[in-house]
Amino acid sequence: MAPSRTLHVRCTTWEQVETFHTRKLRRGKLLSMKVPFAATLGSSVTLGLELPNEVVIAIDGTVRKSSPIEGDTKTWIEVELHGFTDEVVARIRAMAAGVEPVPAEPDAPPERPSKVALASEQLPVDERQLFHHLTTELRRMRQAAVHEVLGVERDADADQIRLGWMTLVRKLHPDLVARRKAPAITHLAEELTILVNRAYDRLRAALVAEGRANVVGSVVRPPPGWLVGFDDLASGAGSDPARRRAQKAVVTIPPVNEAAPSAVGAQGSGGQGGEAFETRARTMLQEGDPDTAQEVLAAALVVYPRSKPLRSLYYVASAVSALGKGEIMLATSQLEAALAHYEGCSEAARLLEHVRQHGQTDREALRRVFQ
């Protein structure tokens, strides 16, 4: 059986979404487009519709017509998107309504997190005490998950993240301790500030990617490997660059036997759905095929964007793949990310422990981890 394909359509404005729905689709369900692969009639296709809030909705479809284009590797296909149910349309509408700009009073100050004064005075005055304090902080933060660095809850919202970051920067910024004219202390302050800024950038990018905020601070486009959101999924992070470029428009997803439910992502943290994907990915990981597992999980995340187990497993898969290439640092950070997304990810915890003890892994070790 030919593998099922995913088409990626990106809409950067809600108008584009509207246009896509009303103009591009015939009878609300038929989509014709040129694709860079030969599509067999009746094969299934998933449309990954990326919305302006960076949420990707997966819509199932079946190829109804397919005609190769003369002298081109491309094919014209017509897909019936049976997954584009009224429910899905309603969900998109709701999201669009949610971000409609609320006209603010022209001169009203925007909402801000409650005030934090410059707090560098709170640091110990005595230089040796300060040095000790900063060193301890640095040691702690180096091991902490990003939200712990900022001292916020795992599911903190935009305001809490900003406040956490601001509070720390106003205390630790190297400029504020520079006047003490002790290079060692300025250096420590810079190291701490780097950790704090990195944590902030990751958390705010994650919030935006998960569709929980429009923008936090400024708009930041995270590089691949930043372990957040869909950007890295859609661009196939971890795959080699040449392949990534070739795939820009189309991500191939191997067949998933379990019937994917309609594209409404489950909310909440309890039964988040997608267990079938999880099981499948685990098997692949156990069999030493992290790359396929990653693709399966990426596909699953399109359907269940809020599933923490799936997301964390995605990072585990990318860690396993990194381990295969000997990139231990990368693997470690991916595993940390897995745990940051979902503490209950026992594979991540076990693998991390293993990596920390032995550095390398082998097939046998992996099999034990995913048992």
Partner: protein
């Protein structure tokens, strides 16, 4: 102790430079040139008697424009093959040339070539002398302002120019942030600012939030080749045609005449900011073979100037919109727009900014000096003489790396808060591979042609081992100045590794040191 010597704030401008200090009582003071002027024209005339800087170099513009370098700041840290440099090189009265490493240099008629760093170094040296005259003692440290969109090569070039002038840079501060600081934004109520700085050569836009003494720069954009000089050139283009029609001379290849026309056009432009009409006069535009000189005069309406400058005005909107987009801001959320830079005195510029933002912008009291005042405040802040202010900036561009022919891979994102650090791990591909080379780029694109090449680096002296066994961890740090630092270590052992620069843009360290020595000895 060098730490005890006073430090100054410097606005190194495309057309004018300013140096300021904060007095003991906390009030800002603009230092003056020996002629008593608060601004020093950023001009260097390589006269037969040696280089002349500032006001005195204006004579050079009149007599030997091919030896009189204005606007060198536009050339700092720029590759010669940059399309805007190509365009400029056709328009400038002096000649541009390509340095062996691809940088833009200036070819003087004497056959000598000078780097823009050296030219700017001379301007900075003059500013340093003004400061030393004020303090009556050596001045060796400064905060220097730069356009917000400067890339790492331009930042490094600025630092090199300073070093040539014997100045160590305490901090490079972005001009719009300096303007917000100089405007005293920290003293007022908390606000969301948009700073628009339109000067002689560059347009800078920054979205800055001020809250409880903290300046948070959300986004900085700009047009690197948009400034008053462009208006002057547009006017000159029209005048050339007019000269031909009215007095019958084609002076398109007469650099001296064009330069005189440009100066007159600039003067007329200034007058038309306050008056509705003026008359442009060039008493001796050119000399006939008989020795008789031909003059030219033309009445100009403000509306005419605005028509000629339309192409210039049109380019104001895009950087503003981009700054808003990057800051994730709607224009309604901007509470104050600060206008900075000499060109914002032109009414059409103010109108355009008002049109784009739908709100009346605020002209700061001293648009030409406010940036230097900000720089001086930054000095005082870094020295701990004023408290309660913190500046937080973001990366103006992304930082990428690539190896061999591979795509560029984004390592540090645009708008990441600085200082920040990210790493990449490189593995050896062959047995006993002695070194790993990689390139560092600035930009956003996976395609290297679209990015700015910062340099090629090599981690050398790798221990002999089978392929893939040596893992090199390269860390890229973007510091508070926006300058890039690199370090390399062996991943498993954590041991530091030797990092070599194979290729780099800008001057070599040894050349900078040599030029600094030469300048110090010559005076």
């Amino acid at each position: 102790m060098s730490d005890r010597t006073p430090a100054v704030g410097i606005d190194l401008g495309t057309s004018n430079s300013v140096v300021a200090v904060i007095d003991k009582d906390g009030s800002p003071r603009i230092l003056t040139t020996s002629e008593g002027s608060m601004t020093l024209p950023s001009l260097v005339w390589y006269s037969p008697d040696g280089p002349v800087v500032g006001e005195a170099a204006r004579d050079g513009l009149d007599h030997s424009p091919e030896l009189t370098i204005f606007g060198a700041k536009r050339l700092l840290g720029r590759r010669f093959d940059h399309p805007e440099i190509r365009r400029l090189s056709r328009l400038l009265p002096y000649e541009l040339t390509e340095a062996p490493n691809g940088d833009t240099w200036i070819a003087l008629a004497s056959g000598k070539q000078v780097s823009p760093e050296e030219v700017c170094g001379r301007v900075l040296f003059e500013l340093r002398r003004m400061a030393e005259a004020h303090f009556g003692g050596p001045v060796t440290r400064a905060v220097i302002t730069i356009p917000a969109w400067y890339d790492a090569a331009q930042r490094q070039a600025t630092k090199d120019a300073a070093q040539i002038a014997g100045i160590s840079v305490m901090r490079l501060l972005s001009e719009p942030t300096a303007a917000a600081l100089g405007h005293g934004a920290h003293r007022g109520v908390d606000r969301n600012y948009l700073v628009c700085d339109l000067g002689g050569g560059t347009f800078d836009v920054a979205a800055v939030d001020v809250e409880g003494g903290t300046f948070e720069v959300l986004a900085t954009t700009g047009d690197q080749f948009l400034g008053g000089d462009d208006v002057d050139r547009l006017v000159v283009e029209h005048l050339l045609r007019d000269v031909k029609n009215t007095i019958g001379f084609d002076i398109t290849s007469d650099t001296l005449a064009i330069e005189r026309l440009r100066l007159a056009a600039q003067k007329a432009k200034h007058e038309l900011s306050t008056d509705a009409s003026t008359t442009l006069v060039v008493s001796d535009l050119l000399q006939l073979p008989s020795g008789k000189s031909v003059g030219y005069s033309k009445p100009i309406q403000r509306s005419e100037l605005e028509q000629w400058a339309a192409r210039f005005i049109q380019r104001i909107e895009a950087p503003i919109n981009e700054a808003l987009a990057r800051a994730g801001r709607r224009k309604e959320a901007i509470q104050d727009t600060l206008l900075v830079g000499g060109m914002t005195r032109m009414p059409a510029v103010v109108r355009e900014i008002q049109r784009v933002l739908g709100k009346e912008p605020k002209m700061v009291d001293n648009p030409e000096e406010v940036v230097a005042v900000g720089a001086a405040l930054e000095v005082a802040r870094l020295e701990g003489r004023i408290e309660g202010i913190l500046l937080i900036d973001v990366a103006a561009r992304g930082l990428l790396v690539s190896t061999g022919q591979s795509d560029c891979e984004l390592v540090i994102a645009q708008s990441a808060v600085v200082p920040t650090r990210e790493h990449r791990v490189f593995a050896t591909r062959q047995e006993d591979q002695p070194r790993v080379e990689f390139d560092v780029w600035e930009g956003e694109s996976p395609e290297s042609e679209k990015n700015r090449h910062l340099g090629r680096f090599a981690v050398v002296d790798l221990p002999p081992a089978p392929a893939g066994d040596v893992l090199v961890l390269v860390e890229l740090t973007l510091d508070t100045d926006g300058t890039v630092r690199l370090s390399a270590s062996e991943l498993v052992s954590g041991e530091r590794m030797q990092l070599e620069q194979v290729f780099h843009s800008g001057l070599a360290r040894a050349d900078v040191a040599r030029l600094a020595r030469q300048l110090a000895e010559a005076t």
